[in-house]
């Protein structure tokens, strides 16, 4: 990228040793012997929740999924709601790292790393559910195209089959992308390591990175290619997931608007989750000067934009229902807004459409705490969106005789809540041991990088050779 666009958002420190400061800000987090107490408290709590998650899943696998509230007609209850919810969360990361990268949105550098991490952990959480929600969790390999003595293949007409490929591809690429981005920073960790263990450990994951300009050159190319590969995935995954519903015949599911609607929702929810994570992170790990208010503000703007998209979709669903003249379709939507699940519907509307509008006020969208609050609301709203889609549609399908009402069991709540335990456990570990911010990239767009270009010699003392390089590499 043109060196001229110096990242305007990274506030000072200016001056020669600012690279050192950036490096310090980030690596310190992983290097201090004792992380802040907040971390321990959070981690301990996350562990407990994770335990609850595992025990509830164990209970379900042992006794049968009847332990959940699933019934007829609502054969998909919480598990699938949670699955779609987490998959949705897992969108912001790749979007930020890939699409914004291709669009040269340099400000992404401050947040892309843990956005990516978040993506991966969210996909992990999502991945748990399809596996355990099936009636016979010991047979998922029936869905894999493995040759077998039965001469049986999976049925490729089924959207669930498409899911498998979509999600696994997405997970693979995201992980590669994430890991690759971290390599230079691992090198930095390695080089600053004080203990052998750290040295060797980071040394191995750094894969012998020395920051030679050749390495940088190849690295940037590869990164670019991966970004290009990842970009379509951002759109494809949730589109495919939305097919689970869109291809079905059920009123409320059977609609063509789902793919874009789901993708918009995913980005919406994803960014909400990023701010929810970013605000405390910058607070507790002293990254205020790297993840700045401006970053939050920009994300909030994206939240407004995507929120409006989602709101539009909600409206459009009603319009189509009316316009199609389909009796069952119309009933479904009237029932959504005013039927037994109206409470869920209006929770969704207020969290996803109304509350984000507060971001129109600069005071609110530039205040980390209101940002955090609204982010939380959006996440709640996005969970309810999936709940509404699944439960209201299924409980009021074609024959009134098969109508029902879904009541979740305690196990349902334990599984839902528990999945956050998994997510946060992973995330906290990430914060503690991995580079939370893409140092090299941040540096690349810092004024210093500019300066560095002018008189490259000045900060030869900066430890890792990697730091001066990006600018140089980027130029070429």
């Amino acid at each position: 990228m043109a060196i001229s666009d110096v990242n305007p958002f990274v506030e000072p420190p200016r001056g020669p040793n600012m690279f050192a400061q950036i490096t310090d800000n980030v690596t310190r987090i992983a290097e201090v012997d004792k992380p802040p107490r907040a971390w321990y408290i959070a981690f301990g709590f996350a562990q407990l929740v994770l335990l609850m998650f595992l025990s509830s899943l164990g209970y379900v696998v042992w006794n049968g999924i009847g332990a959940w509230g699933n019934m007829m007609p609502v054969a998909w209850g919480f598990p699938i709601v949670n699955f779609v919810f987490w998959i949705g969360i897992g969108h912001a990361g790749t979007l930020i790292s890939a699409i914004l990268f291709l669009l040269r949105q340099n400000w992404r550098t401050a947040i892309n790393r843990f956005a990516e991490a978040m993506t991966i952990f969210a996909v992990v959480c999502a991945g748990v559910f399809p596996g355990v929600h099936i009636g016979r969790p010991w047979l998922p390999y029936y869905m894999m195209p493995i040759p077998n003595q039965m001469d049986m293949w999976p049925q490729f007409r089924s959207p669930l089959e498409w899911d498998i490929f979509a999600v696994s591809t997405y997970a693979t690429v995201s992980i590669l992308f994430w890991y690759m981005g971290m390599i230079p920073d691992f090198a930095t960790f390695r080089d600053r390591a004080t203990t052998t263990v750290r040295r060797v450990a980071y040394g191995i994951v750094a894969m012998g990175w020395r920051g030679s300009s050749r390495q940088w050159h190849r690295y940037e190319r590869a990164y670019l290619i991966l970004a290009a590969l990842a970009t379509p995935l951002v759109l494809s995954v949730h589109s495919v997931v939305s097919f689970d519903f869109a291809t079905a015949q059920l009123p409320g599911w059977h609609t063509t608007i789902f793919p874009p609607y789901f993708v918009a929702g995913a980005i919406f929810g994803g960014f909400a989750m990023v701010v929810v994570l970013a605000v405390p992170a910058r607070q507790f790990f002293g990254l205020k000067r790297i993840i700045t208010i401006r970053h939050l503000e920009l994300m909030n703007k994206i939240i407004i934009a995507t929120g409006l998209l989602v709101g539009y979709s909600y409206g459009m669903e009603f319009f189509i229902a009316w316009y199609s003249g389909g009796k069952y379709e119309q009933f479904t939507f009237v029932n959504r807004a005013f039927g037994p699940y109206a409470w869920a519907y209006w929770t969704m509307i207020s969290c996803n459409v109304l509350i984000p509008q507060l971001h129109w006020f600069k005071a609110i969208r530039t205040n980390p705490w209101t940002t955090l609050a609204i982010g939380l609301f959006v996440n709640v709203g996005m969970w309810f969106e999936r709940f509404v889609i699944i439960c209201t549609s299924l409980t009021r399908d074609f024959l009134p005789s098969s109508w029902g009402y879904f009541i979740p069991t305690p196990v349902d709540y334990m599984t839902l809540g528990g999945s956050f335990g998994l997510f946060f456990t992973l995330f906290l570990l990430f914060c503690r041991y991995l580079p939370m911010v893409a140092m090299s990239e941040v540096k690349a767009f810092s004024p210093a990088a500019h300066a560095a270009h002018a008189h490259a010699g000045e900060h030869a003392h900066v430890p890792a050779p990697s730091h001066a390089e990006p600018a140089a590499a980027l130029e070429s």
Partner: protein
Amino acid sequence: MSSIDKKKTSLRVLSQAQAQAPARAAEGSDTQKPTYWRSLAELEQSPEFLELASREFAMPLDQEPPNSPGRRRFMQIMGASMSLAGLDACRWREDKILPLSRRPEGMIPGSSRPFATAMEINGLAVGLHAMSYDGRPIKIEGNPQHPDSRGAAAAFHQASVLGLYDPDRSESVVARAGGARKESSWAEFQKTLSDLSTGLRSARGSGLCVLSERSSSPTLLAQKQRLLDTYPEAKWVTFEPTQSDGARAGSVLAFGKAHRVHYAFDAARVVLTLDADVVAPTFPAGLANARALTRLRTPERGQMSRIYAVESDQSLVAGLSDHRLAVRSSWIKAIAAELDARISAKVNALPELGAPQAAPAAAFLKDEKVQKFVSALLGDLLLSPNIGRSVIAVGPNQPAEVHALGYRLNQLLGNVGRTVFFTEDSDAADTSDVAALKSLVAEMNAGKVSTLVMLGGNPVYDAPADLSFSDALGKVKTSIHLALYEDETSERSSIHLPAAHYLESWGDARSLDGTISIVQPLIAPLYGGRTASELLAMLLGVGNPNGLELVRRTHPSLSAEHVWRKTLSEGVIAGSGVQRVAPKLKPLDKFPLSDFELSSKGVELVFATDAKIIDGRFANNAWLQELPETFSKLSWDNAVLISPRTAQELGVKEADSVTLTLAGRSVSLLALIAPGHADGSLKITLGHGRKSAGHVGGLVAESIDPVGGNAYAIRTSDAYQIAQGVGVTSNGTVPYRVPSTQDVYSVGAIGLSGTAERLPELVREGTLEEYKKKPDFVEEIVEHNPLLSLWVPPVSYEGHKWGMSIDLNKCIGCSACVTACQAENNIPVVGKLNVAMGREMLWLRVDRYYKGPPEDAEVAFQPIPCQQCENAPCEQVCPVGATMHSHEGLNDMIYNRCIGTRYCSNNCPYKVRRFNYFNYNLDTIGITPYTPTDDPKAKVKAMIFNPEVTVRSRGVMEKCTFCVQRIQNTKIKAKNAKRAIPDNEIRTACQQTCPTDAIVFGDLNDGRSRVASLQKQPRSYALLGELNNHPRVQYLARIKNPNPALAPAQEPKKEHG
């Protein structure tokens, strides 16, 4: 790969397939599961089986039921059914094969064959065919030869086979002294008995009393006579809690003599039912009535009968009726009187018929609706072509006077001898059961009864509350109770004797028209039970009575062996029906009408026989308990039904818990608001709330709650059928999920309007006039775009093309088909909670919809099996191909391939798919056919399974398959014999048992098949056809034949569900 799969197989997938064990057992008795014998060996160690074994092998040959080699080998089967799989390390389970050591002539192992037998309830027998799979009765069907069955069987008939294998059945003679329970034996009982009888003989039987269930068995009645000859002083009392005396007493009033009344509905152009659910299986000859009544409901004939129903509760006949008047049961007397007055005025009644009743001065008779109804009705009844072509039927709950009036009205209208017939009821007692029991209890209390022999029944539980039979029983020195279960009465008797199940018994019984059926056993008594007549024989001094001999002695006409065998295989004694008579009607004097019968003050409570568990005798039958009740769709409970308005007046809300109080006695139970129920009338069914029924029906001793509320607790001898002035107090809503399978929660205003909007399309309906004008009116009810498909149909259905046609005009909602399906397809019971959570497993459900204003809603039924769509939504979405399309157009469901994503169910517009959320066989009924168990009870339970159908385990989806096992077996048979399959040779279980022939299955490619012609009929339509699923099931629209005079009554088209 493969072995992994196989491991799965044996470990999981259908490891339960061993549930099939019996199945394979079947085959077992000759091939397959070895373990049978292994487990048999185990078995033989256990005492009950040792005893059994001795009996079995001691059985002399002549006692061997004919043509039943299978049964001779009962022990093998026992063993077989108990196949237990030990998992072998490297390979899956090692199976053993246990050939019979001598295979009887003509026996083909692994095939099921019907044996004719009969089941008697309340003195009325219905002939049955019991399907025996290698000596294991596994399914009950109707006996086509039997006049009251014609191949049909009610839910409780079919479920009775489950009772045979009920592990709660009592297994030994039990003696009780001062609260101490002591297991005893028949031998000891024999001793006790001989001591007793010497004493009794000397006392000429004074102090001896036999309390018997009502029975029409010639053998039993002959023995009764012999007993009374031997013990002149002895007393014989018959008590049947569901027996209402109205018909008998009414006939005495009208003819001076007890008669039975028979209706020929297939000759009736106008039918009026007065509180009479003539098509209900619990109604005398109900199955036959259903068949006859629906025969004239086929619009294709151009003519239809017109049915008027006057009743307090929704009844099965209401679903058929063209006009229905919901009034209190206690008002019907006045209505009958009104009819009598007005009809007598019109027809020139012969003087010897006496004067008519005076038109009663009842406010409700002046009511505009009632007036319209009555005059329209009269118009029809008195229409000249209808004279002698109508039927007026009176229900069992009505008092004698109404029955007498019914007879008189039929006489006046010239129906007697044309549509209404009489036979003499020679066995009828001369008092009502209640009166008889009352006097018995009086004697017991007076200490006049030293020995009370109870042949079945459960009086401690079901005798009128005011008699406090239990206390009286305490005053009897020796009380002997013969029963299938150690029930409430056994617990208070000094001796309990295990009774033989009717499938274990020799016997005989008469149907309503007197036709005698032979009851033959399909299996040697599992627990050494004996029949009532065997016990009587013992009383009469026979040491070791032989049921077969007893029966054969009663029927000398059948002594010739070939005659006997022929009779057995047919199941009925040809021409044994009772001669019809034309009794002379006596003038009836004017009946007084009580204030209650005229005015609308107070609330009446109607005690009704339960359609599922009758008087409570089937309370421990899980199939029946779980079967959704026809109207409330309530399973696992009973409820007091209240009309919407009355509920409002009484401050009762849907699903409240209410307390009914009657003469200081009270019972609390669930209240449900029943559309179309008569205002001021409450209905409660008998037989629920049992405390010692068993592990299914309630066993307080083991803290298993009773199911539902016990109506007997407030039923007294003076308020026996219809109680007046019952107190109702609501305890408000209790935190309780109603175990109902439809409208579990009120669907709310939107739901109601939505239902109303789509109902006309789902259950399409028209009048005879409309139909004549435009036979294909159903086509216009739904307008939709032309149905185009993206794909060329994947299969061209050469060869067979299976389809089904269901006639909504004939379905009475009796749910016999549901139980048939459950028995045929090994459908598990899920239990109360899971039903409440919406997880019932029944493959075939009967949807019930209400139409019109709640206060007099019309009811419509719609059986929903899997529609076997040609363009099936379920097939497209299964990721593993566990549900695939067959070349004959079936949606094959492969349990072993299913991993349980449940997507298919979500995508099924009919929601006919059922999912095993738990391992129901194991978790809820404790059958563990495939996990090793030493519990003989679990093993016995496993004997019920149909070998031809895989038993599903946890986590797999299942659904109706059009009884594919029947299709396959017939196809193979036919092809082996190089012959074509004639129409109607393959019959699905539901079709086979349907009393009204509403379900027709067959090959759509066979132009001459019934189903093909039915689906071609103009009123045939596909449910939700506009979705372009091409369902293979089609429905024949409901056609009503309303009286033009009442047309506006149809007006309020507001509908709700």
